[in-house]
Amino acid sequence: MASTVSEIAEVTRPEQVALRSSLWHEAFLRLKKKRLAMVGLVFLLVMAAVCFIGPFFSPYASGKINTAMINKPPSFSHWLGTDSLGRDILTRLMQAGRISLTVGIASMVLSVSIGALLGALAGFYRGWVDQVIMRVADVLMTIPGLPLLFIMGAVLSEWKIPTDYRIYIVMVMLSLIGWPGLARMVRSQMLTLRESEFMQAAEVLGLRDRRKLFFHLLPNLTPLLIVVATLNVGGAILSESVLSYFGLGVVPPTPTWGNMMDAANTLIDFQKRPWLWVPPGIAIFATVISINLLGDGLRDALDPKQKR
């Protein structure tokens, strides 16, 4: 056996950035093989495309009120029927999708990344970092949502921020204060993971904390993060309509899936006029399911032990 051990030059070379770019690329390649996940992805993309482009082809895009066409069931001129103000539901559904999809996905990305990061930091460093992050989390968790939303609403209103933009600002702010739940979950798993033997191995290698966190620990939490993420999207889309009660959501006539559902809130609507709530309901459902399919696929793709 001829072995020559090459001498490594002991000079330090400039640091190479190699955080996981290949991992995601790889995950995507593997994801491409998951049929269901691709169905989810394609569905989302199609839905987004329809929502953003669709209204341009609709004759009812102006959202004009039509007293002659109130609460009409689906017909040739109105494929999904009309609402209580005689507006075309399909058009509103598409217009609503622009806001709901953006809000749902953006707030998911934001809140999951903040929660994961802070939780990971707390669990990883423990000590004072943990104390500070967790005590802040405790305080944030004790803060009642209502007054906060009201104050935010008042401030935004006083600054005369156009109503249709407020929802985005609000979602960002909600993510900024809504992280403690996820952070606590991430932290607790982190506490177990950091004691694992492979982290000792990472310690022996003298890896940077950044690498330990993002390369070794967080990937082991992807399943949790993916679940939280998929659940978050639906939550955000639905909670948008609640926000308008506090002067924070969108204001009519701007439609969102949430407020379209909300507009049909009696049993009579529920029973007799399904076209009012079924389309937005299905839109939300389809979005959530697609994201879930995508998430499940991603989870499997990132899980080395799952091969099909």
């Binding site: 959202g63 004009k64 009120i65 007293t67 109130i70 609460n71 009409k72 609402d83 209580s84 103000l85 009201f150 609403g153 008042a154 209103s157 006083e158 005369k160 156009p162 109503t163 308008s244 009660y245 506090f246 002067g247 204001v251 009519p252 006539p253 909300d262 507009a263 049909a264 809130n265 009696t266 009579i268 609507d269 007799k272 006029r273 009012l276």
Partner: protein, 554 residues
């Protein structure tokens, strides 16, 4: 009687209108069509009347509650000297009659003989005097403002300069004389309010300390048709018929106010409840009609809804602009879409149910052309982007409202209507209290509200007075019109209804010409009750409390 009915607090009602195929339904009581459908639970109940009520809070004292529903609860327990009828005119209750001195400053109430509280103790003029005295206490924090009546010596008492109130004189156990310092048409009903028992509520009374009363709010004692039995927080208030009631013990032995949220039709359907009120719309009416066994009560509310201008904004200084805002808004359409025909456009600040109502004012029918013309005249010319401007300022208005059906309909329509006029309409929804706070600060240009039940016509207009109306919910943020001020004074300075009618007619004309608000509409109140219950006639001013003593279950 300071009763407020269920619409006192802004309800978050919101329901979609139905494709209207409701059969004829008229104002008043629409009798049940088929009593045989009555659910078993309701049919079996022969000595109990169960009515729905949104959230009573446990302060069952007509002068101390802060929650309108507690007023409803108290109304059954406490009886007043003077009540109002279905048009808002005073009628005798515990007081057999009353005399008003020629200068309209002194009131003498003659109580009926042998009045008793529900515990059997006698109710005398002393009790009335005690009640009025408590209201003058400096630690009194209730919502009744007795100083509106300007009883002689009242201020001195409050400030601790006198031990008694000079203007209150107990002539004999059945007669009390009250001297006031200022003529006010509203004094009679105010002075002739509900009566607290001195023996019960006044035992520990020392001027300047009403703390002790708190413990009694949950154990009320009055002379009303029913006496308090039990309160189960969040669930129900139970009553027993009062055998000492002046008009005889009510026939129905038990009465229960059941706490319900929203349109609790299910309880009527299961027969667990006899009476409840509902959001008015054709869906609800249709459902009630289908039940067959309920009497449906429909009447116009004594309140009105309106959009308030912020008169401190320069562009609303010109009354032509305000008129244009009224002409340019399709109020009929808004009401039709919101209430599906169960509301009518308002042009005066008083409901059609009141004796003071008149139609003799500018109807401001929807007329965008006229509106444009008025704006042109006022110097607001369309700019490059179609928005009108004057002196470099664009006509952009901010409107605040609460979340609810009305807002959901009004905003899109107003946006459309005003855009046509060249006005940019920016709407925001927020919670009721926040709208109040923001308008109080004058942040708004327009904001919509609804009044509470209005008993006296002055209640609907007092906000327009330059003196009182500076700010606040009842205020106008700076509306000022000398003629209006004058007429307001005049309207209160006589007790003669005919004279007042004429004065208010003039006032309404003036308000129509120089509008302080955009009057929106009067909506109907919908309630229904089990057809077996006879004699229940809900009214726009007092709800069901007036007819409570007389109901029967067949």
């Amino acid at each position: 009687p300071a009763t407020s009915t269920q619409t006192a607090t802004p309800s978050t009602e919101a329901s979609a209108p139905a494709a209207s195929k409701v059969q004829d339904i008229k104002d008043g009581i629409n009798l049940a069509t088929d009593l045989s459908k009555l659910p078993e639970a309701a049919a079996k109940r022969t000595d109990t009347f169960i009515a729905g009520l949104t959230e009573p809070g446990g302060v069952f004292n007509p002068f101390f509650y802060h929650n309108g529903y507690d007023g409803n609860v108290s109304a059954a327990i406490f009886e007043s000297l003077v009540d109002v009828d279905a048009t808002g005119k005073p009628v005798p209750k515990l007081a057999e009659k009353w005399d008003v001195s020629p200068d309209q400053l002194t009131y003498t109430f003659h109580l009926r003989p042998n009045l008793k509280f529900s515990d059997g103790s006698p109710l005398t003029a002393e009790d009335v005097a005690f009640t009025l005295t408590v209201l003058h206490d400096k630690t009194y924090d209730g919502e009744t403002d007795i100083f509106v009546a300007s009883i002689k010596g009242g201020r001195e008492y409050k400030e601790g300069k006198a031990n008694t109130i000079e203007g209150i004189k107990v002539i004999d156990p059945q007669t009390i004389q009250i001297t006031t310092e200022k003529v006010n048409a509203k004094s009679l009903v105010l002075l002739g309010g509900q009566v607290l028992s001195k023996a019960y509520y006044g035992k520990e009374y020392k001027p300047g300390d009403l703390e002790y009363l708190r413990t009694l709010h949950g154990k009320p004692l009055g002379a009303g048709p029913y006496k308090f039995e039990a309160y189960i927080p969040g669930q129900e208030v139970r009553y027993l018929a009062n055998e000492h009631y002046y008009a005889g013990k009510p026939q129905v032995e038990h009465f229960i106010y059941k706490t319900t949220e929203g349109d609790a039709l299910q309880f009527i359907q299961t027969g667990e409840m006899d009476y409840n009120s509902f959001t008015v719309n054709s869906d609800n009416i249709e459902q009630l009609q289908q039940l067959g066994y309920v009497n449906i009560n429909l009447y116009t509310s004594s309140a009105y809804s309106y959009i308030k201008f912020n008169h401190s904004k320069p562009f609303f200084k010109d009354k032509r602009v305000r008129q244009a805002f009224i002409y340019g808004l399709d109020r009929q359409k808004i009401l039709d879409l919101t209430y599906q025909g169960y509301a009518q456009v308002a042009n005066v600040p008083i409901s059609p149910v009141s004796w003071a109502y008149t139609e003799d004012v500018n109807p401001y029918a929807y007329n965008p052309e006229k509106a444009k013309q008025l704006l042109d005249e006022a110097g607001w010319k369309p700019g490059a982007d179609g928005i009108r401007e004057k002196d470099g300022q664009k006509l952009i208005v901010h409107y605040y409202t609460t979340k609810g059906k009305l807002g959901e309909v009004l905003i899109p329509i107003a946006k459309e209507n005003y855009k046509e006029l060249g006005i940019q309409f920016e709407a925001e929804m927020m919670d009721y209290n926040a709208v109040l706070a923001r308008t109080e600060k004058g942040d708004h240009d327009l904001a919509s509200f609804s009044t509470t039940m209005l008993i006296d016509p002055d209640d609907g207009v007092e906000a327009f007075s330059t003196k009182k109306g500076k700010s606040g919910f009842t205020g106008t943020n700076g509306y000022s019109n000398a003629k209006v001020d004058e007429l307001l004074e005049a309207g209160l300075s006589t007790l003669d209804i005919e004279k007042r009618k004429a004065i208010y007619k003039d006032l309404y004309k003036e308000l129509s010409d120089d509008p302080p608000y955009i009057f929106l509409g009067y909506r109907k109140i919908l309630s229904a009750h089990n057809g077996k219950i006879k004699g229940l006639e809900p009214n726009p001013f007092t709800g069901i409390s007036t007819s409570l003593p007389g109901i029967k279950i067949e």
